[in-house]
């Protein structure tokens, strides 16, 4: 395991959305801050910094994780995927994103990237979830605008395809 000195800035290299990138950071820097301010991937949002709201959820080696509870150094050499990776290069939304739009599953859109990433992971593992399973996974996220109904409907729509 890599050892780093507390006061030393270190260069952290990882794969972000298929691109190999690196930037310097203090060992105590959170992955959420590193993605946003180190690598400029501002699509990942920070809502609580204590692991409850789920806005900062990203995929690390394919698994949904809270980037605010992860240090940037822990992502060294890993494959990180964020919301910026979901749409096609020409901007066409993927089916999950399209379903969110069709079902008015977002208003201010701040919590949305985390929810999209959680379900990108979950639907890959369980493409046909029941509504109870959808609600169970979604309960790891806080949304203050929608009352959640549109989000559940959007994911159900994807699951039924």
């Amino acid at each position: 395991m890599r050892r780093v000195n507390r006061n030393e800035r270190v260069r952290i290299a990882l794969t972000l959305n298929g691109r190999r990138l690196s930037a310097e950071a203090e060992p105590r820097m959170l992955l959420s801050d590193f993605l946003r301010h180190g690598l400029g991937a501002t699509g990942t949002h920070v809502g609580c910094e204590h692991g409850v709201c789920g806005s900062c959820t990203v995929l690390i080696d394919g698994v949904a994780q809270r980037s605010c509870l992860t240090l940037a150094v822990q992502a060294e050499g890993r494959e990180v995927r964020t919301v910026e990776s979901l749409a096609a290069p020409d901007g066409t939304l993927n089916p999950l994103q399209q379903a969110f739009r069709a079902n008015h599953a977002l208003q201010c859109g701040f919590c949305t990237p985390g929810i999209l990433m959680s379900f990108t992971d979950y639907l890959a593992r369980n493409p046909k979830p029941t509504i109870e399973q959808i609600r169970d996974v979604l309960s790891g996220h806080l949304c203050r605008c929608t009352g959640y109904a549109g989000i559940v409907a959007a994911i159900e729509e994807v699951a039924k395809r």
Partner: protein, 798 residues
């Protein structure tokens, strides 16, 4: 309603937001050399600041400044307040702290990490004082004083009388009274506050980016605090904001604080609030204790009403407080035809974070008291609760209806809306469920609530807090201006700007629908740019997104701007088509002859004329490049000399009913079925409307069952994380059946009313009534947590 309006048009906002391309405040670029700030906050609820030693922190590597209350007092003025009292507030505590979390010092450093490290080196000597948390206790003469120079914590008391309340109470068969507390809570937008400030020393001006939501009546408050004229404070609002619900008004003290930090350091300064700071100190809705009493006939008819509303604003009364006490003033009798009323409004300060705007804004507090009382009347008189409601509703033939306190309810048929909602077996189903549950020995109750939902505030309502003679001296305050602009570019492309701040309400989409409708285009043809810049955009004190002002305000202004542009384009097109202007229509992307649609030109060709060939314009016409619609409805008059006030422009109606079941083991309240009927006038986009209603409903459920900012007796804050402050997840939000009945407002050309706050007002009351029915108890304290339900059930057993 039209080609575009009234249709479930998909949102223009979504493509960017779903792709991680939103532009929220913390996503935007900052100038090279930007410093970062961290706020050091009070650990005490009430204490004298004896001494602050900043030397060690200021000497820490990478630190540019450590700013304290003394600096702020030297460089800025106290915030202007609505009520003139000896209470002063700056952007940092001066001499004394009055709530846990109050900003005491600001550290500005090369990075946020360094600023936080340095803050730990600040040494503050506090002399703790006794704190007072309970609003009733705070009114007692023996209570600790928050602001000794004010000589009282109860800093405003006003009495209002309309009709003959004493006569009504003397005459009535029954007098039924309750005391109803409403808790403290916030709707905690998931994005916290962000401020980036720059100071231009040569010009003595500030340029500040903040996710402020308005109203822009706060702009003069900020400018005055910074000791500059309005134009010297350029305030920019980013294109996206991560929710607000009223809360982001209260970023304003930090706008001033960070602006001062930019002046002191000579560098741009950025501050991003974290969640812990947000929960402890950002903003809260005010808690209220209402003593409410009705004079009632044997038939359940309410003849008179008395309210004593004691509202707790925390440690300071910040502008535009005490808004929640007065925003509902005209509508204080709700949906009922009650003419004889007495209202006492009292403002008290306690050792809690300052209260301010929050979705519902005074409605939840009022309606919890009023609707609990209506339920109580039915129980006392052994009548059906719904019959008591129906007997007191304003009859349809009385619209437009002037309430006792002066509101002009523009339209509605409340009885009809109720009938539709309970029809198709909905009420029967609830009753069946209750009977079945009770037969099986379970606790099940039905609740009702009716609410009048105001929209687009009269900016003069707050002056009702002053006496008529004081108002006369201060000059008239009334009305509300809305503005929107339609612009045309050289190739005829249309853009729209408007005086709203984006927070998720889909304004981009609905404005595009409104303008497309008039110009014969589609919403995809219209660019809507809603980031705001006070130096260059149109705005008034009423600008911003709050008090449901969009549907009855800015939407109308956009409609007016589009109509103005349409009429000009018709006149221009008439010359090019060789027809009379009356024969010109804008449709399907064309400007064409109505009688001979083949005689047509592309929209862009005609619309571009003002750029390329302005001499071709009809004589005397100014080029059709930019049209601003300005909307100032005359109904928003100032308070009358006898204190009657039309507090808002439009008034929607909501009837809610629900069934709840109480779990005998966990003491949790489960909402079994919920029906919500809305009359919001014409609905401009049903998808957006449903989203707003569902969002407000979830927050109403949160207020009823989960969310509360709680403090212990010493003033320690007990809700400092999302593990302690319970924001409902999907698992906690029940389904809601939404119904609509449309009574278009006759006062606006679109006929639309507000609808985004109503369930914050109705749902807590409806659920509380259902709990009262389930348990057969008189008093239900919200949020009705399992602990409180358990206590109620234990008490009922005795």
């Amino acid at each position: 309603m039209g080609e575009q309006l009234g249709k479930p048009v998909l949102r223009k906002e979504d493509l960017a937001l779903l792709s991680g391309r939103g532009r929220y405040a913390d996503d935007l670029p900052v100038p090279v050399g930007t410093l970062h700030a961290h706020v050091l906050r009070s650990p005490h609820a009430h204490a004298e600041i004896v001494h602050i030693d900043t030397a060690k922190a200021a000497g820490h590597e990478g630190v540019w400044a450590v700013i304290t209350g003394e600096d702020v007092r030297r460089l800025s003025d106290p915030f202007m307040a609505v009520i003139k009292t000896p209470v002063t507030q700056y952007s940092l505590a001066v001499e004394r702290v009055r709530y846990v979390g109050e900003p005491v010092a600001l550290v500005v450093a090369e990075s946020r990490y360094i600023a936080e490290d340095a803050a730990e080196l600040i040494d503050i000597d506090y002399a703790p004082l006794d704190a007072v948390l309970d609003p009733v206790a705070a009114c007692d003469g023996a209570a600790p004083l928050l602001h000794p120079q004010a000589k009282t914590n109860e800093i405003s008391v006003r009495d209002f009388r309309y009709g003959d309340p004493d006569g009504a109470f003397a005459r009535a068969d029954h007098r039924i009274a309750m005391t109803v507390p409403f808790p403290r809570l916030s709707f905690t937008p998931i994005e916290c506050y962000v401020v980036v400030a720059q100071h231009n020393a040569a010009e003595g001006s500030y340029d500040v980016l903040a996710n402020f939501q308005g109203p822009f009546s706060m702009h003069p408050v900020m400018a005055r605090a910074l000791r500059v004229s309005g134009p010297k404070l350029r305030l920019r609002i980013p294109p996206d904001s991560g929710g607000s619900f009223g809360i982001k008004l209260s970023v304003f003290p930090y706008v001033v604080l960070i602006a001062l930090a930019a002046k002191i350091t000579g560098r741009p300064v950025k501050w991003v609030e974290d969640r812990i700071e947000h929960l402890v100190a950002a903003s809260s809705g005010p808690n209220r204790v209402t003593r409410i009493e009705a004079a009632v006939g044997n038939d359940g008819r309410v003849l008179g009403l008395r309210l004593d509303q004691l509202e707790d604003y925390g440690a300071f009364l910040r502008a535009p407080m005490p808004g929640p006490l007065y925003r509902m003033h005209g509508a204080v009798t709700g949906a009922y035809d009650i003419r004889d009323i007495a209202v006492r409004n009292r403002v008290v300060l306690t050792n809690k974070m300052p209260a301010s705007l929050i979705r519902g804004f005074g409605g939840p507090q009022l309606y919890l008291a009023l609707e609990r009382l209506m339920h109580r009347i039915a129980v006392e008189l052994k009548l059906d609760p719904l019959d008591v409601i129906k007997r007191n509703l304003i009859p349809a033939q009385k619209f437009p209806y002037r309430t006792a306190a002066g509101a002009l309810y523009d339209s509605g048929d409340y009885a009809r809306a109720v009938e539709i909602a309970i029809g198709q077996g909905r009420l029967d189903d609830l009753k069946r469920r209750r009977a079945a549950a009770r037969a099986a020995g379970r606790s099940y109750g039905i609740g009702f609530a009716v609410v009048v939902e105001p929209a687009m505030s009269n900016m003069g309502y707050l002056s009702t807090v002053m006496t008529a003679s004081a108002r006369e001296k201060a000059g008239p305050k009334n009305g509300a201006v809305s503005m929107a602009t339609v612009n045309i570019d050289p190739l005829g492309a249309v853009t729209v700007t408007a005086d709203v701040t984006v927070q998720g309400q889909s304004h981009e989409t609905v404005l595009a629908q409104i303008v497309a409708e008039e110009l014969g285009l589609t919403p995809d043809d219209i660019e809507v740019v809603l980031e705001m810049d006070t130096a260059k955009d149109q705005w008034s004190i009423a600008a911003g997104t709050y008090s449901s002002r969009f549907a009855s305000g800015t939407a109308v202004a956009a409609h007016k701007a589009a109509v103005q542009m349409r009429e000009k384009l018709k006149a221009i097109g008439a010359r090019q088509l060789n027809v009379l202007p009356e024969d010109v229509e804008l449709a399907q992307g064309k400007i064409r002859s109505r009688s001979n649609p083949d005689n047509a030109l592309p929209f862009g060709r005609v619309a571009g004329t003002s750029n390329w060939a302005p001499t071709l314009l009809p004589e005397g016409m100014a080029p059709a490049l930019s049209e601003t619609g300005v909307w100032t409805p005359p109904e928003l008059e100032p308070p009358s000399s006898d204190d009657r006030i039309n507090t808002s422009l439009t008034y929607g109606f909501i009837f809610d009913m629900c069934g709840v079941e109480i779990d005998p083991v966990s003491y949790q309240v489960r909402v079994d079925r919920y029906v919500s009927m809305h009359d919001a006038g014409r609905v401009m986009n049903p998808v957006v409307a449903a989203g707003q209603i569902r969002g407000a409903f979830a927050q109403g459920v949160a207020a009823a069952l989960y969310e509360e900012f709680s403090y212990n007796d010493e003033g320690a804050f007990l809700s400092g994380t999302f593990a302690d402050y319970l924001v409902p997840t999907v698992s906690e939000i029940p389904d809601v059946e939404i119904l609509h009945y449309e009574s278009p407002s006759p006062l606006t050309p679109l006929g639309a009313k507000g609808l985004a706050e109503g369930n914050c007002m109705s749902t807590p009351a409806c659920i509380a009534n259902a709990i009262a029915d389930a348990l057969g108890v008189d008093e239900v304290i919200l949020p009705a947590t399992p602990r409180r339900i358990h206590a109620l059930m234990e008490k009922a057993k005795q």
